[in-house]
């Protein structure tokens, strides 16, 4: 057993705590580096769009944020369900740590979309299928956050939140396909896994770099938040007391 990695090695809160403590600085470095390079390419190297002028450059934040908003909801629902089904403590904590970040990305996608919509569509907001469903996603996050925070009993809060998150996950495909199904104002996806990219390579590079930067950011922030939740929930345990002693002696 000693020294061997198993599937559930890092499901143990102390091991998770130690691992993420090592990872977080690196994640921040990756995040900042990719953001710097991605924004540089996006703002200074990528060509001006033929029809939209400079305003299109918001996609370097808008599109990755919108992707993250949907992805994080599914990840949150997945970990919440794992935590509920297998009574895995850490999975429930991760789910709760993801929710605020997911809500932030949803808000960012809506906000940057509004900034882009004003010069391009001539309006901050329309009740377009994708915009509306993205707003609904924000409400799903807020509903989850409100529910888990309204319940004092941790176990009940995790389980009720998991149920709500799983039921809400039905909405994700609706958001993703809304542009195809309803053919509304918001354009369809420009990037596809199966076809050659329909945009300049520098634009695509900048967008992918920003996407990876957002991934790194999401990991870093979720890990930090999970660590805080771990410490809070496990404060009665031996390892947290030991941790507090060593940390305390350092400072």
């Amino acid at each position: 057993m000693e020294g061997r990695l198993r599937l559930f090695t890092f499901a143990s809160p102390p091991r998770f705590y130690a691992l993420t403590g090592v990872l977080i600085p690196w994640l921040w470095i990756v995040c900042l580096a990719l953001t710097a390079v991605g924004l540089y390419i996006g703002f200074f190297v990528a060509p001006t769009d033929a029809t939209q002028g400079e305003s299109y450059r918001v996609i370097f934040i808008h599109v990755p944020a919108a992707w993250m908003s949907m992805l994080l909801y599914l990840v949150m629902a997945f970990w919440a369900a794992i935590g509920w089904a297998f009574n895995a403590r850490l999975a429930s904590m991760v789910a709760r740590a993801i929710a605020p970040t997911g809500a932030m990305f949803t808000f960012l996608a809506l906000w940057t979309g509004a900034f882009w919509g004003k010069p391009t569509w001539g309006t901050w907001w329309v009740w377009d299928a994708r915009l509306t469903s993205e707003l609904i996603l924000l409400f799903l996050y807020l509903g989850y956050l409100a529910l888990v925070n309204a319940i004092d009993d941790t176990r009940r809060a995790d389980q009720a939140g998991a149920l709500l998150a799983v039921v809400g996950a039905v909405n994700i495909p609706i958001i993703y396909f809304s542009v195809k199904w309803w053919n509304t104002l918001h354009q369809g996806a420009t990037i596809s896994m199966t076809a050659a990219p329909k945009m300049a390579h520098t634009m695509l590079t900048a967008m992918l770099l920003m996407t990876f930067a957002f991934w790194a950011y999401a990991f870093a922030v979720v890990f930090m938040r999970t660590r805080a939740i771990v410490i809070e929930r496990e404060q009665q345990t031996e390892w947290v007391s030991a941790l507090v002693r060593t940390q305390g002696s350092k400072s």
Partner: protein, 235 residues
């Protein structure tokens, strides 16, 4: 604006308070012309409805019904005038929900007491006319009814889930709204989509199929989810 006003309005015909005992003029009411206060300016929804009704009443009673526009302060000026008029049944005001239900909370010195000074007569306009107010065709109105038939059980099932999740929580009602609202959207989208498709003259089958699929899914899964939620809540 007129449409919005109509929707929100529960027309309240309020005769001035404490009518004299009916017997006194039951045989002959009305013996003189009736003053009908419309507390909004001419040309608005209240005015149009007042004039249409006044005409019909005048024909039926054989007495003049004089529409008197008294706009201002969101209708409260007209309501106050009616409240101060003699309580003889010859002054009528066409008010709104806002005048009797919201104004008391909004104004620090409301010149009338909706309960004491006014006597309600009848509701003139009410919710079932929504479809007609939006000028929906017969087909679209039928589609609306059918989509409500399919959609309402979905909403009820989701509502049950929400109620189970928020069982016994502080401010559970607000939480319930926040939780259930996003979940209801697909049903609302396809229901409304069916109506607009019917209005546009294209096939509604796709919308109804999706709505039916949602209903089947909700019937199969929502009771299980609600059961789980109740178990979580009562554990």
């Amino acid at each position: 604006m007129a449409l919005k006003a109509n929707l929100g309005r529960v027309m309240l015909l309020a005769a001035v308070a404490s009518l004299l005992p009916g017997a006194a003029f039951a045989q002959s009411y009305p013996v003189k012309s009736i003053r009908w206060i419309a507390p909004f300016p001419p040309g608005g929804g209240t005015d149009l409805i007042s004039r249409a009704l006044a005409q019909k009443l005048a024909d039926a009673w054989g007495q003049q019904v004089l529409v008197d526009n008294r706009p201002g302060s969101g209708g409260t000026i007209g309501l106050a005038l009616a409240a101060k008029a003699p309580a003889d049944g010859y002054t009528v005001v066409l008010g709104q929900l806002a005048n009797v239900a919201i104004a008391p909370a909004l104004y620090s010195k409301l010149p009338y007491d909706p309960v004491r000074d006014l006597a309600p007569v009848t509701l003139v306009l009410s919710a079932p006319l929504f479809g007609l107010l939006f000028d929906l065709s017969l087909v679209a109105n039928t589609t609306l009814a059918l989509s409500l038939l399919l959609g309402t059980p979905i909403l009820s099932l989701l509502g049950g889930l929400g109620a189970a999740l928020t069982l016994g929580l502080r401010s559970g009602a607000v939480l319930l709204i926040l939780i259930i609202l996003p979940l209801c959207i697909p049903a609302l989208i396809f229901g409304a989509g069916a109506v607009s498709a019917a209005e546009a003259g294209i096939s509604t089958r796709g919308h109804f199929s999706l709505l039916g699929a949602l209903l089947i899914g909700a019937v199969l899964l929502a009771p299980l989810a609600t059961g789980s939620a109740l178990r979580i809540a009562t554990e």
